[in-house]
C-alpha cells in the first residue's frame, strides 16, 4: 500500500479554481518514452526494464537512508539496507500500478524517484519512533516550553504567546488540539502519528491546517500581529 493514501483530500484550501486544473500534458522526452514503452513490453524487454527500474528506485532509497542515517545511530548497516530494499520494492509496486498516471510533467526518473524517497522516508520515520510514546495529550504542556520559548519583557510578544496558548486550549476541538500539539509542538512525524491514530497523512494535515486557521483567526480578531508573516 502506498505511503500516501489516495483517498485523502488533495487540496487543503483551494488556491484558485484555475490553479487546480492540470496543465496540458507536455510531450514526453525520449528517455521517458523509452521507459514507458519498455515497462509495458510483454516480453523480456519488460522484465529487463522492471529490473532497471528497481535498481533506480533502490539507488534513490539508499540515498534517502544515507541522508537520515544520523537519526538512526542504533541501526546496523544491514538493517538500513533492508529498509532501503523494502522501500524500493514498495515503490516499484506503486510506480507500476500508477504508470498510466505519468503524463510527462517531469522526466520519468524524477517522477519515479519520489516514490522511493517517500517510501524510505516513511519507513525511517516510523523506525525512529518505534517503541517510543507519542505525546498526544495537552495536559501539563506549555506553549512556551514546548516551542522553546519563554515569555519575555516585551509585552506584545507575551500577549501573543499567551493568547495562542489559551486559544489552543479553548478554541480547538480535542482532536485538533491533540494533532497540533503532537505535530507542531512535540515534533511527532506525521506518518508516525497517522499510524498511531489509524488515519493517513492527508487527513491529519487537513486537521492541522484547520487548527492553524482557527488560531490565526483568533489572533487576528484580537488585533495581534503575527511576527512570522512575510510583509506583503
Amino acid at each position: 500500500m502506498s505511503a500516501l493514501n489516495a483517498a485523502t483530500v488533495a487540496l487543503v484550501e483551494p488556491v484558485s479554481p484555475l490553479a487546480t486544473l492540470a496543465p496540458a500534458p507536455p510531450l514526453l522526452d525520449a528517455e521517458s518514452r523509452e521507459w514507458l514503452q519498455s515497462l509495458r513490453a510483454p516480453d523480456a524487454t519488460g522484465e529487463d526494464a522492471i529490473a532497471r527500474l528497481h535498481a533506480l528506485l533502490l539507488r534513490a532509497a539508499r540515498f534517502e537512508v544515507a541522508r537520515r542515517r544520523a537519526t538512526l545511530p542504533h541501526l546496523r548497516g544491514d538493517e538500513l539496507e533492508d529498509i532501503a530494499t523494502e522501500a524500493a520494492d514498495d515503490a516499484l509496486m506503486s510506480v507500476l500500478r500508477r504508470l498510466d498516471d505519468f503524463r510527462g510533467a517531469s522526466r520519468f526518473t524524477t517522477w519515479a524517484y519520489k516514490f522511493a524517497l517517500l517510501e524510505a522516508a516513511v519507513k525511517l520515520r516510523k523506525r525512529a519512533w518505534q517503541g517510543r510514546e507519542v505525546p498526544l495529550e495537552p495536559e501539563g504542556w506549555s506553549l512556551f516550553s514546548s516551542a522553546g520559548l519563554e515569555p519575555d519583557a516585551e509585552a506584545e510578544q507575551s500577549e501573543l504567546l499567551e493568547t495562542l496558548q489559551s486559544a489552543i486550549a479553548q478554541v480547538l476541538t480535542p482532536h485538533q488540539r491533540r494533532v497540533l500539539v503532537a505535530l507542531a509542538l512535540n515534533g511527532v512525524p506525521i506518518d508516525v502519528l497517522a499510524e498511531r491514530l489509524n488515519t493517513n497523512r492527508g487527513a491529519l494535515y487537513k486537521t492541522l491546517h484547520d487548527a492553524r486557521r482557527k488560531l490565526r483567526n483568533h489572533i487576528q480578531e484580537r488585533g495581534l500581529a503575527l511576527e512570522n508573516e512575510e510583509k506583503r
Binding site: 500516501l4 493514501n5 489516495a6 485523502t8 483530500v9 488533495a10 487540496l11 487543503v12 484550501e13 483551494p14 488556491v15 484558485s16 490553479a19 534513490a60 540515498f63 534517502e64 541522508r67 510533467a105 517531469s106 522526466r107 524524477t110 517522477w111 524517484y113 519520489k114 524517497l117 517517500l118 522516508a121 520515520r125 506553549l143 516551542a147 522553546g148 520559548l149 519575555d152 510578544q157 495562542l164 497540533l180 507542531a184 509542538l185 512525524p189 506525521i190 506518518d191 497523512r201 492527508g202 494535515y205 487537513k206 492541522l208 491546517h209 492553524r212 488560531l215 490565526r216 503575527l226 511576527e227 512570522n228 508573516e229 512575510e230
Partner: protein, 78 residues
C-alpha cells in the same frame, strides 16, 4: 550563554504559512515537476501555487522535497 530561540521560527512551526496551500496528496503529485522547474531556474512557485506554502507547514513533505531536489540536482551536476 544560550541563544534565545527564534520566535519567528517557533510561530512558523505552530501556525504554518499564511494563505492558501495544497494538501499532502497534491504536493506529492506535483513534487517532481516542481523540483525540475526549480532546478531549471524557472518560477516553480508561480507555476504551482500553494506548494511552497505547504512545504513551509509540513515537515514531512519538506524533507521529501529536499531529498528529491538533492538527488536530481546531484545527478544533473555529474
Amino acid at each position: 550563554m544560550m541563544e534565545r530561540p527564534d520566535l519567528k521560527q517557533a510561530l512558523g512551526r505552530l501556525l504554518g504559512a499564511a494563505g492558501p496551500e495544497v494538501g499532502c496528496e497534491e504536493c506529492f503529485e506535483q513534487l517532481d515537476r516542481y523540483v525540475e522547474l526549480e532546478l531549471d531556474g524557472q518560477d516553480a512557485d508561480a507555476a504551482i501555487p500553494g506548494l511552497r506554502a505547504h512545504l513551509a507547514g509540513c515537515p514531512a513533505c519538506r524533507e521529501e522535497h529536499e531529498s528529491l531536489r538533492a538527488l536530481v540536482g546531484g545527478e544533473q551536476a555529474l
